[in-house]
Amino acid sequence: MSFSNIFLRPFHTSKECYHIIKMSRLRVVDNSEIGRRAMAEGKPPKCIHVYNKKGVGTIGDKVLVAILGEKKKGILVGVKKHQPPRVPKFDTNNIVLIDDTGTPLGNRIHVPIPVMLRTILKEKTFAKGVDYTKILAIASRFV
């Protein structure tokens, strides 16, 4: 097989482009100071770790991001990749920044977030552990 034929192989790359893996660019959707500044400056946060066993993030997963030279944690509240029926799919990969205790850095989320995030975040929350459900309190709209 000649070298040029390799580029004619029929495999798709677009699915993988939508995956949230290390070095993926994300969009901060809350009104935290650092998040707003990063988005305004055109320096969106970069995912540097996904806290799950697959390494590919999806709705409700915790990610570690590099934002304006700082390390922050965030929760994915909406993703671009293909979703099963009745789960909304968004045009951007959205995160809400949180601190180590699970408290969001901002006090308002200005995009819709999926309803099933309620159940997912409640399941991830343990007594005396990190409380993620505070994010739900600052959400403006569910779809």
Partner: protein, 303 residues
């Protein structure tokens, strides 16, 4: 439900076997060809008046046609699925809709306190057949593009409303993802537009203007009629323009077998719609009745 249907099929099969001894002499002499038999049965129930009505139904109920992939065909499974689909249709009203129609779906969800979730958007794709038929709705909510896919026969769906019944120029509208946001923004509290009876389905001939690249698809290589081509050409580089011709496949127009393998032949379509005709007709009658009641009430209120 499933077991009942299956039994019914078995009974019918049994009936066929009972007929067998009657025609045993004709079977013995192995001269008649099997094609002849099927042909005659197809022609038996063909009536000139019903013919056109039945074939128009394929646009309204495309999911009643089976998957054209030959390996996946199974007549008993297809039939059972059709029965199940009709049963589901008798439970909730699944309206006539097309790609480009603005619809709202209310579905049950265990995640929220009200246990209900309503999503409104434009249908950008209709895919799949049988019980696995799906459609995708798209809307821009709070400046964020949102898409939700639904199974048409999902039992958790409570209500499907058609807000504005119309068609677009294309069979799928994924280019709306790269179009300017106003083309897929619809207020969530949109009022339904009721078309008068017996009007043809209006075709929306808008040609969308795309956002600058990057895009999710190579729209310049496709021939979607709903994209404003002149504007699109200003957005792409010269190299991309040169590559358009390279990716054209003009011979596919003449590939008769490819077309044949992608579709269900007319005779089979007739057979299928003849099978479900009476039940679908009754459902439509019931729908009309309820519509009349609704339209009768409304002018009173406004007056």
């Amino acid at each position: 439900m499933f077991s009942n249907l299956y039994r019914q099929c078995l009974v019918e099969k049994h009936f066929v076997y009972n007929l067998f001894p009657l025609c045993k002499w004709s079977q013995c002499f192995a001269s008649s060809q099997p094609e002849l038999a099927t042909e005659s049965t197809i022609q038996a129930f063909e009536e000139p008046e019903k013919r056109s009505i039945k074939l128009e139904q394929r646009f309204i109920y495309p999911e009643f046609l089976p998957d054209p992939k030959i390996e996946w065909r199974n007549s008993i499974r297809e039939r059972l699925e059709r029965q199940d689909m009709l049963k589901r249709r008798s439970q909730i009203e699944i309206p006539e809709f097309y790609v480009g129609t603005i619809m709202a779906v209310t579905s049950f969800t265990p995640h929220s306190t009200s246990k209900k979730n309503r999503f409104l958007g434009i249908c950008i794709q209709r895919k799949g057949c049988g019980l696995r038929a799906t459609f995708v709705l798209r809307n821009i909510i709070d400046n964020l593009g949102t898409e939700v896919a639904y199974h048409l026969y999902d039992p958790t769906i409570e209500k499907i409303e058609v807000i504005r019944l119309e068609k677009r120029l294309d069979d799928e509208l994924f280019y709306l993802r790269d179009a300017l946001p106003e083309y897929s923004t619809f207020p969530l509290d949109m009022e339904p537009v009721i078309l008068p009876d017996n009007t043809p389905i209006p075709v929306n001939t808008t040609q969308v203007i795309l956002k600058p690249r990057p895009w999710v698809g190579r729209w310049e290589r496709t021939d979607f009629k709903g994209i404003n081509r002149e504007h699109m050409m200003t957005l792409i580089s010269d190299k991309m323009k040169m590559q358009i011709a390279k990716h054209q496949k003009p011979w596919e127009k003449y590939d008769l077998m490819k077309q044949y393998r992608a579709t269900i032949p007319e005779e089979e379509q007739k057979e299928i719609f003849a099978e479900v005709y009476s039940q679908l007709h009754q459902l439509e009658l019931g729908k009309k009745k309820s519509k009349r009641i609704r339209t009768f009430v409304k002018p009173k209120k406004s007056a």
